[in-house]
């Protein structure tokens, strides 16, 4: 089943809070430090983007709801650092830190531009797509990880068990359901599926409005 992060379609959140005159990129100084710290620590190579998303999603619903955006990042970073053995719990609690054997991976200032510019593509070689543009498909019901009980998935709850149409085909990409749990890349064809908003929500704001999701082949079956 889904977790607290899977909030598409939820009622009760109120206004979006858009400020027409703009807002600072980093509202607080520590927001900028939190972002940079997360990117730098990711450079140690001890986890991938799916593992880090999973760590944020594993915050308790109570913490997820009360933490602001970068507080979630910091909480997840603390979990990732301990779970991957980069720091010990004792060090996290304030004990004298011991030297790390990972210092050759430390992101140095002169490497930052190159690292940010190179990115980390998720495209991989893999099987030919089983579905074609225009095919009708149905998504997995319930939205869940079938490799790891209670694990990470990128099928939103609102789009589970729904019929839609393949509108884009993106080649093979790393499967997050596996990658988030260190089970390898297991690349699969990735598609954009368009759903009729009336199917998702019972009624659409306007007839014909649509919502799309990017979904992996194992999330899909041919629609009857």
């Amino acid at each position: 089943m889904s977790r607290v992060h899977d909030m598409g379609g939820r009622f009760g959140d109120g206004a979006v809070g858009f400020e027409p005159d703009g807002e600072a990129i980093f509202v607080e100084n520590w927001h900028a430090r939190a972002l940079a710290l997360t990117l730098a620590a990711g450079g140690l190579g001890k986890w991938n983007i799916d593992i880090s998303r999973h760590a944020r999603e594993c915050l308790s619903p109570k913490d997820y709801a009360r933490f602001t955006y970068y507080e979630k990042w910091m909480a997840a970073l603390a979990v990732l650092l301990v779970d991957s053995g980069v720091v010990t719990k004792a060090e996290m609690a304030g004990a004298e830190p011991s030297p790390s054997d990972l210092t050759d991976k430390t992101l140095r200032a002169d490497k930052v531009a190159a690292v940010l510019a190179s990115g980390g593509p998720s495209a991989r070689d893999g099987a030919a797509p089983a579905f074609n543009i225009g095919d009708r498909v149905r998504t997995r019901h319930v939205a869940r990880n079938v490799l790891v009980s209670g694990g990470h998935t990128r099928l939103p709850g609102y789009a589970a068990g729904m019929k839609g149409e393949v509108i884009l085909s993106h080649g093979c990409h790393v499967l997050p359901d596996a990658s988030a749990h260190r089970l390898g890349d297991r690349p699969e064809p990735l598609y954009t599926i368009a759903f009729d908003a009336a199917d998702l929500w019972g009624e659409a704001e306007r007839v014909g409005d649509e919502v799309t999701c990017d979904l992996w082949e194992s999330y899909l079956e041919p629609a009857p």
């Binding site: 598409g8 109120g14 979006v16 710290l37 910091m74 053995g85 930052v112 939103p156 704001e205």
Partner: protein
């Protein structure tokens, strides 16, 4: 890491190939499939590592920063460089250049619509969170809006770091269900004749919306047009500005 064979907490034997290693926790949280153990999130709710840090967020960041620096795993100058990049060098001004070029250069438009990653790379806009770009053009028939309901996926090399509203629970929860009400909060009222398609970025594909070129802009230079392209217009919660 699962480099050693972990022991199942249910049967005390080496766990089978597909183990439930929940919450990225250490190996003691591994179990064979089907074994009746506590639900994943009940196992360690009280010992999250972050609870060991100071509760104040600014102090929490500082504590992590200091710890990693003392272990030799953090170069403070690297943090300054990352912040400088996203505070001043990479932002919606990049995407605006792409849009203005699309409006004035038919060949570039064709390339972008066929292979956006290649097209924006040629302008120097490639990198983290922009590895797999797709451009979607608004038309009189269809207006497009982008969201990430599951986290905050966003095309960093073209738009920079996402604004607070994009990452808010309210936007993530509502824009897929009631996009027209959400757009109205941004001052955008679409005609009933125009369909909305909301793109939920649930994978590593990142979407750039190409807003419609405003009327009355014939003869404007690319540089002038760039000034009309707002961040919101490239997410779909805004329209390109009409020249004064």
């Amino acid at each position: 890491m699962l480099s050693v064979s972990p022991v199942c907490r249910g049967c005390s034997r080496a766990a089978q190939a597909e183990v439930a290693r929940v919450c990225a926790k250490p190996l003691d949280a591994v179990q064979c499939f089907g074994h009746d153990l506590p639900m994943p999130h009940d196992i360690h709710d009280d010992d999250h590592a972050h609870s060991l840090l100071p509760p104040d967020p600014a102090l929490r960041v500082k504590a992590l920063e200091t710890l990693l620096e003392r272990k030799g795993l953090l170069d403070p100058a690297a943090l300054d460089e990352i912040i400088e990049t996203y505070a001043h060098k990479v932002g919606p001004q990049n995407g605006a250049q792409v849009v203005a070029r699309v409006w004035t250069d038919a060949n570039f438009r064709t390339l972008l619509m066929n292979d956006a990653t290649e097209a924006v790379s040629q302008m120097g806009f490639y990198g983290r969170q922009g590895e797999h770009m797709v451009a979607i053009a608004n038309t009189p028939e269809v207006h497009n809006v982008v969201v990430c309901t599951l986290c905050s996926c966003y095309p960093w090399p073209l738009l920079g770091i996402p604004p607070g509203w994009y990452k808010s629970d309210a936007y993530r929860a509502r824009v897929v269900r009631e996009p027209r009400k959400v757009l109205a909060e941004f001052g955008v009222i679409l005609p009933e004749t125009q369909k909305i398609r909301v793109w939920d970025s649930t994978a590593e594909v990142r979407y750039l919306i190409i807003p419609q070129r405003p009327a009355g802009t014939d003869g404007m230079s690319q540089a002038q047009l760039t000034q009309l392209v707002t961040r919101e217009s490239m997410i779909g919660t805004g329209l390109a500005q009409v020249p004064q």
